[in-house]
């Protein structure tokens, strides 16, 4: 039905979409999830020909969109836009009848039959009684149903829904999506919907595409893509999954007062020996054959300041140069360091949530302003927190502890100063604590 191949889109040197590819068959429901500004609406606009992709191709029924005119596209593909008031008050029926537009020639207007058919679609969606009501005076839910009726009247082949549940109350949210899903099943309509709630995607979608900064984070069958690690990564929020009536749902851990993982923060000023203490701990654990994961940044100090730094993947032992001090403030990273690509890649590998399993212990040296700004390894942190029974030792400077706790919604994590004489014993105790005690612990 619809195939999207390596679509990229940029505006004024700003890359909004990069290499997005997916396919959709008739009767399938694809949910697009992503944080605000991830490029979801841009992608939808590329799909329906409102934006011209700078690279790649969108094909509809094996015909490239570029070779179709606007009416031809609209005959196959109907968009339910984010609802907004119209400048003038059309009645709900007039709005729905406009779905016929792509099938009419320039000078033609809808016929009596079209009006009759539009009324029938409205009745199917239970909004037949609103036909004469002014669209602008309808409630959000009614408007959304009217727009959905227009889209279904326009095309039953492919529906694009741009945040269809915005402004809707609890009942309407499910009503709209149930109607859409019914079309998938009964009329074999293919649906692409931008959703903000992963649980709605979980309930209705067959396939899910996760979009992060214009790139596909993950795409595939719902069960494969919808994991708490992926959701945590996508929204930068540690998320737990729970079961209701054999269906898995997601909820932020902090909202549930649940923490699946435990965090210990080692703090101390720059050059106070935090990394050295952790290196000693790693060695100790290796002797006891306790596996550790994560990354460590042993550095070279000059004049009491970090001059350059290596990065070590604790699990594999790989080591390479991470960065060195340039003395010039880099506006992008907010630091006076220049980082190597190999070092960043090694760090991302060391903190890749796909390599983490239940009960793993992860060291992050260190969480600084870059991570708090969503750069560096910032995006890796939340999905790691979603790993059940995992334990995390983070290195954080004293002035950032509060911010770090707020950013990752940590409830009173254990904080140990580097000057603590009991540091190594406490670290060992944290690592060897009873795993099971952590699950379901109230924060």
């Amino acid at each position: 039905m619809l195939s999207v191949e390596n679509v990229s889109f940029s505006v004024a040197d700003k890359q909004l979409l990069q290499d997005v590819s997916f396919e959709l068959a008739a009767g399938e429901f694809l949910a697009i999830l992503g944080a605000n500004g991830a490029g979801k609406t841009t992608l939808i606009n590329c799909l329906c020909g409102l934006n011209q992709p700078s690279q790649g191709q969108v094909s509809l029924n094996s015909r490239p969109l570029n070779n179709m005119n606007r009416a031809e596209i609209a005959q196959l593909m109907a968009l339910v836009p984010q609802q907004q008031e119209t400048a003038f008050a059309f009645t709900a029926l007039e709005m729905v009848v406009m779905g016929r537009t792509p099938f009419l020639s320039t000078f033609e207007s809808p016929s009596e039959q079209d009006i009759h058919d539009a009324k029938r679609v409205m009745q199917l969606l239970d909004v037949g009684g609103l036909a004469k009501a002014d669209y602008n005076r309808l409630s959000g839910g009614e408007r959304q149903l009217v727009l959905l009726a227009r889209a279904l009247f326009q095309s039953e082949q492919l529906l694009l829904l741009d945040e269809p549940t915005n402004h809707l109350d609890y009942r309407n949210k499910f009503q709209i999506l149930s109607q859409v899903k019914r079309c998938c099943v009964e009329s074999n309509t293919a649906v692409i919907a931008i959703l903000h709630d992963p649980n709605l995607a979980q309930l209705y979608a067959d396939k899910v595409l996760l979009l992060e900064h214009g790139k596909v984070l993950d795409y595939g069958e719902r069960s494969a893509v919808m994991t708490s690690k992926n959701i945590s990564r996508l929204y930068g929020l540690a998320t737990a999954s729970y079961q209701v009536a054999s269906q898995e749902f997601f909820m932020p851990q902090n909202v549930l007062g649940l923490s699946l993982s435990k965090v210990l923060i080692v703090t101390g000023e720059s050059g106070s020996g935090k990394t050295t203490a952790l290196a000693a701990l790693i060695e100790q654990c290796q002797q006891k054959q306790l596996p550790l994961k994560g990354m460590l940044c042993p550095g070279v100090m000059k004049n009491g300041r970090r001059f350059s730094s290596d990065i070590v993947d604790i699990a594999t032992g790989e080591r390479c140069l991470f960065g060195h001090r340039t003395g010039v403030l880099d506006k992008k990273t907010g630091t006076r360091f220049s980082f190597t690509e190999a070092g960043l890649a090694l760090g991302l590998q060391a903190l890749d949530h796909n390599n983490f399993n239940q009960g793993d212990i992860c060291i992050v040296d260190e969480i600084g302003p870059m991570e708090l700004g969503g750069q560096g390894f910032g995006k890796q942190i939340a999905p790691l927190l979603a790993v059940a029974n995992s334990r995390h030792i983070w290195v954080v400077r004293p002035n950032l502890i509060e911010q770090v706790c707020r950013h990752w919604s940590l409830h009173n994590p254990e904080v140990i100063g580097i000057e603590d004489s009991d540091l190594s014993r406490k670290l060992m105790q944290f690592i060897s604590a009873d795993n099971l005690a952590l699950v379901g612990e109230q924060g």
Partner: protein
């Protein structure tokens, strides 16, 4: 027809109203005319028209009353109908295209251009009345084209930008007009310019009707066939495209047609305030926003409104008062009443 029942546009009804108002208008005036004169004059209308068209001269077997009716009041009545219809329909189109009920046909500076052109024609030595009208028409269209061209050159097709460039062009022509007024001979040219600006149908003749009917009828015909597309355009560019209609081209076509109509009307009778802005407003208040009804109804109401206003303008006082004053004085309270009456079910 894409029109809800009970709110249908009934051409016969509106034609009937126009005829009644027209007959009253023909009788009204300083020169009193009774119904038998009117009846005999109307019987002679076909022969007068045919001799005017074929021979280019007036038959000489007419009484004074018949001459007043057939050569003065009748063409004036038709001019009022055509100009009223033209201004109202282009107002409705502009409001739809710009998706703003506060837009008047002058939004792109057409009227300012016309006024400047007319003032220039009045100042230039030896220019005929036809020359004045031609200059007004050309300058009006030039203003609209300049505004659209500027908006396009600024790189965006946004409505706001077009309104901005319309203001720019309008103010340049406005400044030019003031300049011309300052330069004009205060005893001859300046009053002529001022009276032209006030707008008047007193110069109407059969030739006025002939030069107006073609652009207005043609323009209206096109708008009438495109009025369903105008509905789609009212939803905004994004929805318009998703419904398979390319908004930029449609918008351009509609703006060009309505600017053409406005330029023809303003060039012929001067500036007539209020109609283009308020008639579509009034009609929308009681029929809703659907252009399938709004376009024909605005046209009919605009035509009848201006005819009534002109009848009042020439019959109520010993001297003829400028039509713009009447349209505003009659229209404003009427509009206020409608807003009050329909405030529960308004169309905005």
């Amino acid at each position: 027809m894409f029109i809800a029942k009970g709110r249908t546009f009934q051409p016969v009804k509106w034609l009937g109203i126009a005829i009644v108002v027209g007959l009253v208008g023909l009788c009204a005036g300083r020169f009193s005319i009774n119904s038998s004169d009117l009846f005999s004059a109307i019987q002679k209308l076909p022969s007068v028209l045919s001799s005017l068209i074929l021979a280019g001269q007036v038959p000489d077997n007419l009484t004074q009353e018949e001459r007043v009716i057939l050569l003065i009041r009748f063409p004036r009545l038709l001019t009022a109908l055509i100009v009223g219809a033209g201004l109202a329909v282009s107002g409705a189109v502009y409001q739809g295209v710009f998706r703003n009920p506060l837009v008047s046909p002058d939004i792109l500076g057409v009227a300012s251009g016309c006024m400047f052109g007319a003032a220039m024609g009045l100042i230039l030595p030896g220019s005929s009345w036809l020359m004045v009208q031609l200059l007004a028409f050309v300058c009006g269209l030039a203003a609209a084209c300049a505004a659209m061209f500027m908006a396009k050159r600024f790189g965006s097709n946004s409505l706001l930008l077009m309104i901005m460039t319309g203001i720019i062009v309008g103010s340049i022509f406005g400044a030019g007009l003031t300049m011309l007024k300052a330069l004009a001979d205060p005893y001859g040219e300046l009053p002529a310019i001022v009276f032209w600006l006030m707008g008047s149908l007193s110069v109407s003749s059969w030739s006025t009707v002939a030069q107006l009917i073609v652009p207005v009828a043609l323009g209206y015909g096109l708008i009438h066939t495109l009025r369903y597309r105008l509905n789609v355009l009212c939803l905004g560019d994004h929805q318009c495209r998703s419904l398979g209609v390319e908004p930029a081209r449609l918008r351009m076509v509609l703006i060009v047609i309505s600017s053409f109509i406005v330029a023809s009307c303003v060039a012929t009778v001067g500036s007539v305030a209020w109609i283009g802005l308020v008639v579509p407003h009034m009609v929308r208040t009681f029929t809703g926003a659907n252009n399938m009804r709004l376009i024909p109804l605005s046209t009919a109401v605009g035509a009848i409104f201006l005819l009534l206003a002109d009848s009042v303008a020439r019959a109520s006082f010993s001297m003829e008062i400028p039509i713009g004053i009447v349209t505003s004085l009659v229209g404003a309270p009427l509009f206020a009443f409608l807003l009050f009456r329909f405030r529960q079910g308004g169309a905005y």
